[in-house]
Amino acid sequence: MTATTTSSLAEVGRSAATLRTFLHGLPGVDHVGAEQRAALLGTRSIKTGAKAWAIDLAIRMVDLTTLEGADTPGKVRALGAKARRPEPSDPSCPPVAAVCVYPSMVPAAVEALAGSGVRVASVATAFPSGQVPLEVKLADTRAAVAAGADEIDMVISRGAFLSGRYVEVFEEIVAVRQACGAAHLKVILETGELGTYDNVRRASWLAMLAGADFIKTSTGKVPVAATLPVTLIMLEAVRDFRAVTGRLIGVKPAGGIRTTKDAIRYLVLVNETAGPAWLDPDRFRFGASSLLNDLLMQRGKLATGVYSGPDYVSLD
């Protein structure tokens, strides 16, 4: 970390030059080291009681997601029912953190989740490409918030970021942050398109400085989604950001996390990198659709001692 104080951090976003100087002043990521550390932590074995605890925590951290062109209010309602009671036959199974949908599906999700404590997250700002004018992105965001979304998942303009127009990205996040009002803002970095780990670190800091409540890896719409090393770098960023500012920013890996084993690897990474303060659905989330089914099957195996099968969980 460069020696930075809270007061100087507030100045960073003031001009293109200060922002560029700050982001390029961040130490480079040790590529091999990051991948080795992520791989090493992935070998931890979590069993029995700890595994049961981890599975329940992972269920509470799931952002149950459906982002298909073919989504209907009916599908969202079904997902809402699953979010409230993931395992209908077992009242001890906790609900998930949120249901993540497209803005047009927010009213259906709000209705389905009313009074359950499960939040409604909506992607916005021309998800997944982000390639529309700023006014459209802001209108998209306001519409989702007005419809009742508690959390907004925005995408950054990767084109602007990659061509070095950091201030444009910064100001866009600030503007969307204002449009969100009381809603939480998750900023999707789309790490699969950023190319290098250094860029992931820069984008993480950029998003946090601009006021993100969460930084999220991916849209799930590009071939490379969340990976352990990328999540490690983002967790280091939120840890360092807390050390400087005292603010706790959440992290959300999304896309490609399908099995309980994967999820537990991420939880180990969180605990060892950012610390136990992040082992909380307010600080860490999984963006996933098929992960929940595997968590439920593993939960069933631990509870009954019998291997479960996909016939005993819902399709979506």
Binding site: G305, V306, Y307, G309, P310, D311, Y312
Partner: protein, 274 residues
């Protein structure tokens, strides 16, 4: 030149078309040869492989399934000497190959023989079509290690089921060699999965697994174990073929009963056109 050291073979499991060692790292000795000792996690992996193979195998045309099984018979014939080298009588190897061909022939005949058009009191066609059950768990018989094995695997897969086979504990070598035959034929990976080791240890996991649809207990000699397996199988209403009351003569004409044991009949109604 020094004397050549022969490559010593470790007999491995056959899961999803691959030959992994046991997840547990264990093995046991049979005729001075190391054979993998499967664990419950190998059962789990095998069921996953078998389940993912169901769609492709049951979706293949009956003719195509038959051709693939005939091809396996060709490979079986080609390995005749290798089976005899394992100590099997030549006659048993030949009968086993013939048995495989006999079951392969049923592939495109089951639907005609066991399906049908039913008369109904209305302007409808009413058709019954036999369909595969899904994933079948098989405990292979200990006697007659190749012929018995072929006689329980072939009838289950010919109709489109996939199988997880627990090979007989005292005689796993013919089972693994059969796996090598199947791996070099055109049979898709995961249609047949063979686990070596102790059935008493692994069979309960197979019997209670909620993603297994049927159970063939032909090779379970222990009466108490058979009962507990059948009880575990009741958890998700698996079809169960019980152990035989009297020893089976594997060389006798088996008839199609082992095929029909793992079929389900789907009946469809269709309005008659004008």
């Amino acid at each position: 030149m020094s004397e050549r050291l022969a490559v010593r073979k470790t007999y491995k499991l056959f899961i999803g078309g691959r030959f992994p060692r046991s997840e547990s790292g264990r093995s046991y000795l049979v005729e001075n040869t190391n054979v993998a000792l499967a664990s419950r996690k190998d059962v789990r992996d095998a069921v996953v492989a078998a389940r993912s193979a169901v769609k492709g195998w049951s979706g293949a045309t009956a003719y195509n399934r038959g051709q693939i099984l005939y091809r396996a018979a060709e490979m079986l014939e080609g390995r005749r000497d290798q089976f005899i080298g394992l100590g099997l009588p030549a006659a048993e190897v030949d009968v086993a190959t013939d048995r495989w061909v006999w079951y392969a022939g049923w592939a495109d005949k089951i639907a005609q023989v066991y399906g049908g058009a039913n008369p109904v009191a209305g302007p409808y066609f009413n058709l019954s079509a036999p369909e595969p059950t899904g994933v079948v768990g098989v405990v292979a018989p200990g006697e007659s290690p190749l012929l018995g094995l072929v006689s329980v695997i072939a009838p289950a897969i010919v109709s489109g089921n996939t199988v997880v086979v627990l090979a007989a504990e005292p005689a796993p070598l013919p089972a693994v060699t059969l796996a090598e035959v199947l791996a070099t034929s055109d049979l898709p990976g995961g249609v047949v999965n063979i686990l070596t080791g102790r059935a008493a240890e692994t069979a309960p996991w197979l019997a209670s697994h909620l993603d297994v649809n049927a159970l063939d207990l032909t090779g379970v000699a222990d009466q108490a174990l058979a009962v507990s397996l059948e009880q575990a199988a009741a958890g998700n209403l698996k079809r169960v073929v019980r152990p035989p009351a009297a020893p089976i003569d594997w060389t006798a004409d088996p008839g199609p009963s082992r095929i029909t044991a793992f079929l389900e009949t789907k009946t469809v109604w269709h309005p008659k056109g004008v």
